[in-house]
């Protein structure tokens, strides 16, 4: 990984946003280290266009040094912010010449034909997998055209094409399409997170934005379901909250195979009672509301409680303890 590639190539005459160090030789004939191509672009200009420009320039000029070029461009892929972009990986793999590296006889097929190139291709694909970029048929075809149908590098992309879509939507709690490739604001993300966290499907998620001259971006997201409101209403005024804890939840009740039906009525009543338990009454706590705040301190959390009080009148009668930045605030 940390190997430096000292391959040199002739710098092209036109370079977008690049400033070259002065040298005795004429600009178009000087030898430049491959990484200069990426390093010389100033950080604010490092984007997809600049990256694609560098690849296009390399392809235009050179018929060799592909592996060195790809290795050094992989180092800069994150700095240019293109590590989650499928087009970039396609462009990178398109750098490999077509047809030349396809094995022609059995020995070439058995042994790693063009090993450096194939390992480099696997590295690009691995990088793609690491960043969670989903491959498509086109990228498979690009690899096939460069290395042949059943070569080692092609097997890698075939495996990716088989497994990655299989496990892509295995997360049932978050639909990745709601966040992937989108620039969501903080409060939108908070809403997505709260929807993911609150297991009651009836939960209302609401956003409160504060109009303030000094701080423009002040918001609070509330999430509470009707059954949580009902639970809150049931609490008595000035409730000694520490004394009323929820019964331990018995999810899988140990059943004894006894044939004693003398207490069937009590058993039936008990079972009816236990099935009434809401999802919010967890093992050691009862969850009454969820929320997200823009800043992490007690003052902001207190504003969240104030917002909750508008819909839950009973909250005024209860003792609330905030414990966010270490100091407790009654």
């Amino acid at each position: 990984m940390s190997k430096t590639f000292f391959s040199l190539f002739r710098s092209p005459s036109v370079q977008k946003g690049c400033r070259l160090a002065s040298n005795a030789a004429p600009v178009e004939n000087r030898l430049v280290h491959i990484e200069n191509q990426f390093e010389s672009v100033p950080p604010p200009k490092r984007d997809k266009d600049a990256f694609m420009g560098a690849i296009a320039m390399f392809k235009e000029k050179r018929g060799r040094g592909h592996v060195e070029f790809i290795n050094s461009s992989l180092k800069f892929i994150k700095e240019y912010g293109v590590h989650k972009d499928l087009d970039t990986y396609k462009a990178l793999l398109n750098v490999f010449p077509k047809g030349k590296m396809i094995p022609q006889n059995t020995f070439q097929k058995i042994f790693l034909h063009y090993p450096m190139q194939q390992n480099c291709c696997v590295k690009v694909l691995d990088e793609m997998e690491w960043h969670g970029v989903q491959p498509d048929k086109e990228i498979h075809d690009i690899v096939v055209n460069a290395f042949g149908e059943w070569n080692f590098a092609t097997k890698k992309i075939k495996r990716m094409l088989y497994w990655m879509p299989k496990l892509k939507y295995s997360n049932k709690y978050l639909d990745r399409r709601t966040v992937e490739g989108k620039s969501l604001s903080d409060c939108e993300l908070a809403g997505v997170a709260l929807k993911m966290m609150s297991r009651d499907p009836a939960t209302n998620v609401s956003l409160v934005k504060f109009k303030n001259d000094i701080m423009a971006n002040e918001w609070i997201v509330l999430a509470q379901s009707p059954s949580q409101q009902r639970l809150l209403k049931q609490l008595n005024a000035g409730d000694e909250l520490t004394t009323r804890s929820a019964e331990p939840l018995q999810e899988f009740v140990k059943e004894e195979m006894d044939e004693d039906y003398t207490n069937w009525y009590e058993d039936w009543l008990k079972r009816r009672e236990s099935s009434k338990r809401t999802i919010h009454e967890q093992q050691n706590e009862v969850i009454l509301a969820l929320g997200a705040i823009f800043r992490y301190d007690n003052d902001t959390a207190f504003r969240w409680v104030e917002e909750l009080q508008k819909t839950n009148k009973n909250l005024e009668n209860l003792r609330i303890r905030l414990r966010i930045d270490g100091k407790s605030l009654i």
């Binding site: 997360n171 209860l318 966010i324």
Partner: protein, 353 residues
């Protein structure tokens, strides 16, 4: 009433989505049991001792030897014909001097005799004409039946589980810890850092793992074979929104089985609610050293001797997974045998022939 901070689902903390140092905080608002009132704030910011140490180190770098490539040497690619030893670590050779062994002897004798006594007592207790295992085999397990195998309420129970992360192997900067909480559960928490150690050897970093190390007396393997008639793995966990992975390890005596494990992701939703995660055994896919294999087959629970929970989701930041128990669950309506296609591979494949 207590307001407590919960870690946000981790997709929010990707650098592309939220600028670092963003102050979004998720709150839950709950009424708690009395014993929890005086507990310390559970999630604290972890420092990174190894990183500081590395930065301060002068002269020779505090890193391992660079890997060598040679035609005749063992390749470093983890495939099942290539596992160096049961630990899976190249060059792993724990050597002890006679003095060390003698020093260790009394403790070993004490531990082993305890295990033997426990096993004898178990045998005496279970001596009966009824054969529960046989009854399970012929299909007397009921629908919705669950069996909790591992709890985390006592120190003894927790000591069966070992946690580790890349900084333990000098291969990264992540940290992790595994400890009990006040409500009889265990918390696997720490910090994931994908920063790679610049030693030219490590290519990826940022993992933490928790693994069961439960053995019978005299270091004999304990198999999870009693699980074979159940259809699902059941975990009661409370996570932080990250996606973990459950691994069923099934190494046997032959070297090409040393790396065998069967994996499936464990997704968490985060927040204060417990989740009962039921993963069908039919969905576990075959991996060697974490790599999905071409030839797939169903997990054979008779060979499984360990179970692990790993995290390597490529996202920097704190993580926390609270575990109440791990067990199995039977769903008689689940008739799927194996969820993936089992192709017939050509003679010359990656497994050899």
């Amino acid at each position: 009433m207590l307001i407590q901070r919960h870690l946000l689902p981790r997709f929010l903390c990707k650098s592309s989505l939220v600028p670092s140092g963003s102050n979004i905080t998720a709150l839950s608002f709950s009424k708690e049991a009395p014993q929890e009132e005086n507990q310390k704030p559970r999630r604290s910011i972890m420092t990174n001792p190894l990183k500081d140490k590395l930065q301060k180190a002068q002269g020779e770098a505090n890193v391992l030897e660079k890997k060598k490539r040679s035609v005749f040497a063992r390749s470093t690619v983890p495939v099942n014909i290539n596992i160096p030893n049961p630990k899976g670590i190249p060059g792993y050779d724990p050597t002890y001097s006679a003095k060390e062994l003698l020093e260790e002897l009394p403790r070993t004798i004490k531990k082993q005799s305890k295990l033997v006594a426990k096993e004898v007592a178990q045998m005496a207790k279970s001596a009966s004409l009824e054969k529960p295992e046989f009854l399970e085999d012929i299909g007397l397990l009921r629908h919705n039946e669950a069996r909790v195998e591992f709890r985390f309420d006592t120190e003894e129970n927790r000591s069966l589980w070992h946690s580790g992360c890349d900084s333990d192997w000098k291969e990264g900067f992540s940290t992790c810890s595994f400890r009990g909480t006040d409500c009889g559960t265990a918390e696997f928490s720490g910090h994931i850092s994908t920063q790679v150690v610049k030693d030219g050897r490590v290519e990826r970093a940022g993992w933490a793992s928790l693994k069961l190390e439960d053995r019978r007396s005299f270091n004999r393997k304990k198999f999870l074979s009693r699980w074979r008639n159940f259809s699902h793995l059941l975990l009661k966990v409370r996570g932080d929104g990250r996606s973990y992975k459950v691994m069923l390890h099934s190494p046997l005596s032959m070297d090409f089985t040393w790396g065998d494990s069967f994996s499936y992701p464990l997704h968490t939703h985060g927040g204060p609610y417990w989740q009962y995660e039921k993963i069908p055994f039919s969905k576990f896919f075959h991996t060697v050293a974490g790599r999905i294999q071409d030839r797939q087959y169903k997990v054979n629970l008779e060979d499984c001797s360990s179970i692990g929970i790993v995290l390597m989701d490529r996202i920097d930041g704190d993580f926390c997974l609270e575990i109440d128990y791990i067990g199995v669950y039977n769903d008689t309506t689940h008739t799927e045998d194996f969820a993936y296609e089992t192709y017939t591979l050509p003679l010359f494949n990656t497994h050899g022939f």
